[in-house]
């Protein structure tokens, strides 16, 4: 039954580390969050547009295939999420984390370590698949609000 799950939307994000940044697409279904790796800086791609393109491709794929596609991919059932916070990036976030960060997304998980992502700037324009467009924080908030409105908190 899980295969019939529909992806309601996704957010492009990355995790800053000393190793090359790993870029993820956070796919939101009605029941769970699928965290899917779309590439690593200088390992897979150089330009952000490539990550965006990969995420747009994965959106069409079944969730089971997404989860199997990479060992770094994982799922978080909404029942495990206690709080999800979206915060607009300040200059400190841009300096410390990533210059192309527009915001941060922090997920608090029941009995587990939370997850923090930097929301990246670009995504593929669904109406013109060969083009990129800015990923707006408002759109990201709306994606989360459509499935997790009771657990979402937004900070500016």
């Amino acid at each position: 039954m899980l295969e019939k799950e529909e992806i309601k939307g996704y957010i492009l994000a990355d995790k800053f580390s000393w190793k090359p940044n790993i870029h993820f697409a956070l796919f939101f279904t009605l029941k769970r969050l699928i965290v899917a790796k779309v590439g690593a800086l200088f390992k897979d791609f150089v330009a952000s547009a490539e990550y965006a393109k990969k995420a747009e491709e994965l959106k069409e794929v079944s969730i089971e295939s997404i989860l199997k596609a990479d060992k770094d991919n994982f799922e978080i059932p909404y029942t495990d999420i206690t709080d999800i916070e979206i915060k607009k990036a300040g200059w400190k976030d841009k300096l410390v984390a990533d210059f192309v960060t527009i915001g941060t997304l922090t997920i608090k998980i029941k009995d587990k370590k939370g997850q923090k992502f930097n929301i990246t700037k670009l995504r593929i324009d669904p109406s013109a698949p060969s083009k990129v467009k800015p990923q707006k924080l408002e759109d990201c908030i709306n994606v989360v609000r459509s499935v997790l409105s009771d657990k979402l908190s937004v900070k500016s």
Partner: protein
């Protein structure tokens, strides 16, 4: 941390959207390189679209031509930087006459009178240099110009007053002939014309007593006090005064030395950085092309397999092509877009070729 951030910035500037945006100066200078990358990204996109949709196969990227273009842009950008820096350097720091005496320590230059000898070694501070002219027959000494320089601890008026007091105490028959403000190379100076009598002391080889006439030009600038002194006998003073004045008009205060070494390091760094960027871009370009070619190969081979078998489990296909199930699904989606009658059942996880009657 810094290098990582720079890499991120580099990646950021490869984004086609950002390429069309005004950027701050350092990146604006390197903009031609990024614009070029945009061109490559656009070409690559055309190529990828061509492979995926079976259209525009002949729009492949001529890698050699692109590399030559990259080299051309790199060289022209570096040449532009070098030219700009040279122009800025000359205008900001000023050219110095090659015949001038230059003292970087005290930040001045002056042309010594023609034929006079220069001695700046073994001089006693605060004097930094002597220009020696002809011998004065009456004394056996030489007409000379000396320049003293040191840290200013007072204003010009206080400096002048201090010099006058010192001379009055140390020189016999000291007398101020004339004094007043004047300008030298746009500097506000104070001029003193003085006479005094040289008295031989102990430990001095010259045993004669003789009169001296001096013109002292004093000024205080940028925390330093300068004293340019012309010394002659009263009989020779007027004859050689124009020579001194001509030399004095060439006096210039110098700015800090142009940091050629730093600029050179920056240029070398920029060239190395740009070169590394070009190599990385080309490497990714080639890698991406290779991946896309492989993807296209998988698409065509899956079709062949499906035509033979009719229906195959997706995990079998993934194993067979040493790829992920997601890539197989993407290949199926591509085939469907191209009008091939294939389908993927998410429940049974089987890929099926629907044979047409």
């Amino acid at each position: 941390m810094k290098s990582h951030s720079l890499l991120l910035l580099y990646a950021h500037f490869l984004d086609s959207e950002n390429l069309n945006r005004d950027v701050n100066l350092p990146f604006a200078l390197l903009r031609p390189l990024f614009v070029l990358s945009e061109d490559l990204v656009s070409k690559r996109q055309k190529c990828v679209n061509g492979i995926m949709s079976d259209r525009g196969r002949n729009e492949g990227i001529p890698v050699m031509r692109s590399m030559m273009k990259i080299l051309k842009w790199t060289v022209s950008t570096c040449a532009f930087l070098l030219l700009t820096i040279s122009i800025l350097g000359i205008s900001a720091f000023g050219a110095v006459n090659p015949e001038a005496y230059v003292n970087r320590t005290h930040g001045f230059s002056i042309n010594p009178p023609s034929g006079w000898t220069v001695n700046d070694t073994g001089v006693s501070p605060p004097i930094v240099v002597f220009f020696y002219g002809p011998v004065i027959p009456e004394t056996g000494g030489k007409i000379n110009i000396n320049i003293a320089a040191g840290t200013a601890t007072a204003s010009l008026d206080e400096y002048v007053s201090g010099v006058k007091q010192w001379c009055a105490l140390n020189f016999t028959n000291f007398n101020v002939v004339s004094e007043g403000h004047r300008n030298v190379s746009r500097l506000d100076c104070y001029e003193l014309v003085v006479t005094w009598t040289y008295m031989p002391g102990a430990n001095v080889s010259n045993t004669h007593t003789f009169n001296i006439k001096q013109k002292l030009v004093l000024f205080v600038e940028k925390g330093k006090a300068y004293n340019i002194a012309f010394t002659a006998s009263p009989a020779n003073y007027d004859e050689y005064l124009p020579v001194f004045e001509e030399s004095l008009q060439t006096f210039k205060l110098l700015g800090p030395e142009f940091p050629w070494q730093t600029i050179l390091n920056i240029i070398i760094g920029a060239i190395v950085g740009a070169g590394a960027g070009v190599i990385i871009s080309v490497a990714f370009l080639i890698k991406r092309r290779k991946a896309k070619t492989q993807q296209q190969r998988i698409v065509s081979q899956i079709l062949e397999l499906l035509k033979l078998s009719g229906s195959i489990k997706i995990d079998d296909l993934a194993k067979r092509f040493a790829t992920t199930e997601a890539d197989i699904e993407l290949a199926v989606i591509q085939l469907k877009r191209d009008g091939v009658p294939v389908s993927f059942n998410r429940e049974t996880r089987e890929v099926t070729y629907e044979k047409q009657e």
